[in-house]
Amino acid sequence: MRRGHRRAHRRIWLFLLPLLLVGFAMALALRTPPAPPSPAPEVVMEAPR
């Protein structure tokens, strides 16, 4: 590899890694909370005749 190419490799990671970490952390932190489980259907008991 040429010197410039090696330098580009290092610089890319120095930029890419923090960007990805910030993006990922935001995506994780801002996730909408899961919807609460729907309540169980009410069972209507018929009165014994």
């Binding site: 290092r10 990671w13 990922f24 935001m26 996730r31």
Partner: protein, 350 residues
């Protein structure tokens, strides 16, 4: 190197490599689907398609991670170099796995007669201003387009046509594809599915790749520090016998390209460390039958003058060498490519 055009330059090692790759991918997809069907039995057609979307998507992401890990791993552990030789086949297969992932996504809409919804999803301009809710599929599409360009230009014809510098620059876009893929997952499936394996996969992938590249990069920084010089600017290589037979010692002038000083018996020669094929690190290769072999793709150059043996025409820049008080020195000014510059040294193998 090749004297004629071949659509795919297969040899026995590459066929074995490709078979292992395809079988591994098939096993992963089958294993993923089997586990999904065991955990969630009775899936309808759309759910089955969704399972395969996830299987192919995660396979493509993991393959991209492995591809990006191969470079620094091979630089730190030369025994892993065979993985590097065939990385292009790995990349092309990754593109096809990602393409199937995208095709299945369209199929998912089709089986529900909801294909127009995909267009609505991608064309809602106000969503592009949001972070959560961003049309994540466009990120995946961007990564897929980059992989397509890389796969389409992966053949040596394009390497020769574009030149190593431009070709390498285009293929550096793989890092952008990786970034897009990470955010495609983080803003897509990670938002809907609370399976902890999804963020874990992203964290592990980025941590492994980041640390491997930074570690390998740090070693490169050390290697680029200039070698000690004599009063007249020649770089001090060391005693000839300190260079292992059929191998090289790499030296660099401060701010200059690296020079590989090879020894074969009592013959010593200095050539550029940069292979003309893909800029591979020649100094990490060895000498076989009087030729320097590039460790990346096996390009060959004669030790004495840096010329590829006929019928090939590639030539390397060579450097003048001298022996002073038993110490080998190299002039950092390159000679025209193909200039004979090897010298014989009377040495005792140490």
């Amino acid at each position: 190197m090749s004297a004629g055009f071949q659509a795919v330059q297969w040899n026995r090692a590459k066929i074995v490599y490709d078979i292992i790759l395809v079988v591994s991918v098939a096993l992963y997809i089958a294993g993923f689907a089997w586990m999904s069907f065991m955990h969630y039995p009775g899936q309808d057609t759309a759910e089955v398609v969704d399972t395969f979307i996830r299987a192919f998507g995660s396979a493509a992401f993991l393959m991209l991670t492995v591809i990006l890990a191969i470079g620094p791993l091979a630089r730190m552990f030369p025994k892993l170099l065979p993985l590097l030789y065939n990385r292009r086949h790995f990349g092309v297969l990754t593109f096809f796995v990602a393409l199937i992932h995208a095709g299945l996504m369209i199929e998912w809409y089709l089986v529900q007669n909801a294909l127009p919804s995909l267009w609505v999803e991608l064309s809602k301009t106000e969503d592009y201003a949001r972070f959560i809710g961003f049309p994540f599929k466009i990120l995946g599409l961007g990564a897929l387009v980059i992989l397509l360009v890389m796969a389409a230009t992966s053949h040596d014809f394009w390497l020769a046509f574009l030149g190593p510098r431009l070709w390498k620059a285009i293929h550096m876009a793989v890092y952008l594809a990786y970034g897009l893929a990470v955010m495609h997952v983080a803003l897509g499936i990670m938002q809907y599915d609370r399976n902890p394996l999804i963020p874990l996969m992203l964290i592990a992938s980025a941590a492994v790749l980041g640390s491997l590249h930074l570690a390998a990069g740090w070693r490169e920084v050390i290697g680029d520090r200039g070698a000690p010089t004599a009063a007249d600017g020649w770089l001090i290589v060391g005693p000839p016998y300190a260079i292992p037979d059929k191998r090289a010692r790499i030296v660099a002038a401060a701010g200059g390209e690296r020079i590989a000083v090879f020894r074969s018996g009592n013959l010593v020669s200095a050539v550029t460390n940069v292979c003309v094929h893909q800029n591979g690190p020649l100094g990490e290769g060895r000498i076989v039958n009087g030729c320097i072999i590039c460790p990346w793709h096996g390009y060959e150059y004669r030790l004495e003058d840096g010329c590829a043996p006929p019928p090939f025409t590639e030539r390397l820049a060579t450097y003048r060498l001298r022996l002073r008080d038993g110490v080998l020195e190299v002039n950092p000014e390159p000679l025209p490519p193909g200039t004979p510059a090897a010298i014989a040294v009377g040495l005792v193998d140490g």
